[in-house]
């Protein structure tokens, strides 16, 4: 008798009730964060009707879109069990290199490619330090973060670079598709693409397996080194794209651009359900996490709360969101 010969047609019980389906949704992390965001939104709009105007909402979306874009790359790194602290530097250096290219008279295509090249370089250096040399991701990317910052000051001497750019380039950061800002469109496209990559492709499965149990994944034939290299390159490249979009919006590359943004990006991924231990997380969760932080930031402004409080509130949200997640998995897990 052949083991693999028998295919089965046994279907799952067809009559699963709607209620069961809904109850299942409770376990989907993204739904929880989305619900939290809707509640926060409802509260804000209760106090100030301006919150729900198209104008304001689009502004909110555009404000968090760069963090959200970077969190898409970050969450893939985190799912492999790693971390990428250098995204802020990759972002800043990419915007600077793009600006310098324009300044030197290159065209839009070349300048953007050069900016993205910065990201690819960051990713390759991070990935090789981690996979070929075996540095812990925290250390490797901490190093490249610092190098990136140093380079930016060395290049700019602390003075912003403000080149002349063609009209078409500013579409990236300032344009609209209907009422929707272009950065938001890019964010949504990237979210859909990478959510599908992570859920539906072999690469995505290998990313989850590498973070879930690297040793077992390797022994199953997963080329875990290549998987890790790939996620770091993706993360840095996506971050550099965010840098280019940011430059396109203000048409000025600041020497301190992107500094500290790695923490917002990691926070978005964590709020969205990614576990720093690896193996767990989702692209949509990270984007929704960034959205939640963005909505809170907007609410703080609209409600005339001291803007310094915003950071503290964001910190509180991270702690509450992740604590709830940990408590929930304690309650549902652990039957043996």
């Amino acid at each position: 008798m052949s083991v693999s010969g028998q295919k089965t047609t046994e279907a799952t019980p067809a009559s699963s009730s709607l209620w069961r389906e809904l109850a299942q949704l409770r376990h989907v992390r993204e739904i929880n964060v989305l619900a939290a965001m809707l509640i926060v939104g409802a509260l804000i709009s209760f106090y100030t009707p301006y919150f729900l105007t198209t104008n304001n909402l689009m502004g909110v979306f555009r404000a968090f879109s760069l963090t959200a874009i970077m969190s898409i790359g970050m969450v893939m790194v985190i799912i492999t069990g790693g971390i990428d602290l250098s995204v802020g530097s990759a972002m800043g250096l990419a915007s600077l290199v793009t600006a310098l290219c324009f300044d030197a008279g290159y065209g839009t295509g070349f300048s953007i490619a050069a900016g993205l090249g910065v990201g690819v370089t960051f990713g390759l250096v991070n990935g090789l330090l981690i996979t070929a040399i075996g540095l812990p991701p925290f250390i490797a990317t901490l190093g490249t973060l610092s190098i990136g910052r140093g380079l930016m000051y060395m290049i700019t001497h602390g003075v912003p670079v403000t080149p002349d750019t063609p009209e078409v380039f500013s579409v990236l950061g300032q344009g609209y598709v209907g009422p929707v800002p272009v950065p938001v469109v890019i964010m949504l496209v990237l979210m859909v693409v990478f959510a599908l990559v992570m859920r539906r492709t072999r690469f995505g499965r290998h990313v989850y397996a590498t973070g879930g149990n690297e040793h077992a994944a390797r022994l199953s034939g997963v080329k875990t080194g290549r998987v890790k290299l790939a996620v770091y390159v993706l993360s840095s490249t996506i971050a550099s794209l965010a840098g280019i979009i940011g430059f396109s919006r203000y048409l000025s590359a600041e020497p301190a651009s992107g500094f500290g943004s790695e923490l917002d990006v990691i926070a978005a991924a964590a709020i969205g359900g990614a576990s720093l231990a690896g193996g767990v997380g989702s692209v949509t969760g990270a984007v929704i996490g960034a959205a939640l932080v963005g909505v809170i930031a907007n609410g703080v402004v609209l409600l005339n709360i001291n803007t310094y409080a915003q950071q503290a509130i964001t910190g509180g949200v991270i702690l509450i969101a992740v604590s709830l997640d940990v408590l929930r998995s304690k309650l549902t897990g652990g039957n043996g």
């Binding site: 083991v3 072999r202 499965r205 989850y208 149990n213 022994l219 034939g221 080329k223 039957n335």
Partner: protein, 500 residues
Amino acid sequence: MTPFLEMHGISKTFPGVKALNRVDLRLRPGEVHVLAGENGAGKSTLMKIMTGVYKADPGGVIRVDGQDTVIRDPVHARALGISIIYQELAVVNNMTVAENIYLAREPLTATGLIDRRRMNADARAVLAELDISIDPDTKVGSLSIGQKQMVEIARAISYSSRLIIMDEPTASLSHHEATVLTRMVRKLAAQNIGIVYISHRMDEIFEIADRITVLRDGETVDSRPASEMTRDLLVRKMVDRDLSQLFGEHLSHATDQVLMSVRGLGLKRPTAQGARVGDVSFELHKGEILGFFGLVGAGRTEVMEMIFGSRAHVGHIAIDGREVRIESPSDAIAQGIGFVTEDRKEQGLVLGMSVRENFSLTHLADYCRLDVVNRRREAEACRGYVRSLGIKTPSTEQKVLNLSGGNQQKVVIAKWVARRPRILIVDEPTRGIDIGAKAEVHALLNRLASEGMSIIVVSSDLPEILAISDRVVVLKEGRISGILGRHDATQERVMLAATG
């Protein structure tokens, strides 16, 4: 004598599963009480209730020294005199023996610093009392598994434990270490300490037990003095089947065709611990089941890891007469080799993933078009294996974390079998799984061999090796000390080659 610990009508329900149903257990001082049962029978759950990890459902009664007691948590259990030694030992490798024994209750000097001298002296006294010859100042990481276990026993004794629960303590011990442990258990019992002993090894159970309690499907089905129990009866109680039904006839499917030949295989970089494996040469035939036997530390696993590319090697490996280069697991897999590793949790499974995702990890490309996974086909194939291997799981979407050990092992086997390797290496395929599942695994390996797969079985369970192998390769201190045909391979000869 009044029981030290008495449990009446203990039930435990998890969402969707009744793990224990009105279990009774009476543990007397100085009694070695073996808890037997298949995996999933409820032994672990019962242990966890005894040590306060789980709370029993309302309705049951637990008495300690005749007093109704609620065991609140593991710390409380230890205060009551109940200690446990888990299969996965709970020692800190970077700390010394004494530091481990007195972890979290280090003796302090007047100034509040750790009184290292007193701690070492106390540890030495405890170790001496148990006749354990380990220096309290050595790092635990440098000890063997058997010695680490002794450190845990010393720790339990230093807590003045009156009941020590041991969960399959000999599962990863060599023959010699197991004998030492057995003597230690008898000695503890002689000091009026109660022992709960969980084991799947028949010889050991009958050697050590004063009383045997059998759990099946979460219920107590039998409890009697060991003197009134026989092997056949015990197996029947555990699995509700006869022994003769469990182990079928051995039919060889080996052919003359040499599939893989290994010449002069050895470690590229010798490991600090363990054998200097070298000069290993053997042939594997198509359809053959080749057993690999040796004592712990003989280098069996190292040989398999070299063939599978997860450990660097020197020497030559040829498949179908052509020399192949194997430098990573993916190289080996590309050559048609599969490896069911010894350690399911560390090496075999991604515990947080579902049965389906673990199953397909070795051959995901089979279900892909342009790298996109067709999950319907993947799940269908997985359900086929769940059915044919009898994997007990509510669905293919269940996380493997929630399966019992035997079922986890079957998932590991399924993920490799589904890849249809030409050579399947299985390292300790039945460790820690119960006798029923064991027989199923053996039958499966036989069936695969009959379909032309070549199989290498590594096991420290000698009866298993003899029952299943066409030929037996014996390793001793990193070298091959004998290759025996099925009819020459008796317990005595194999053991002699392994030790002599």
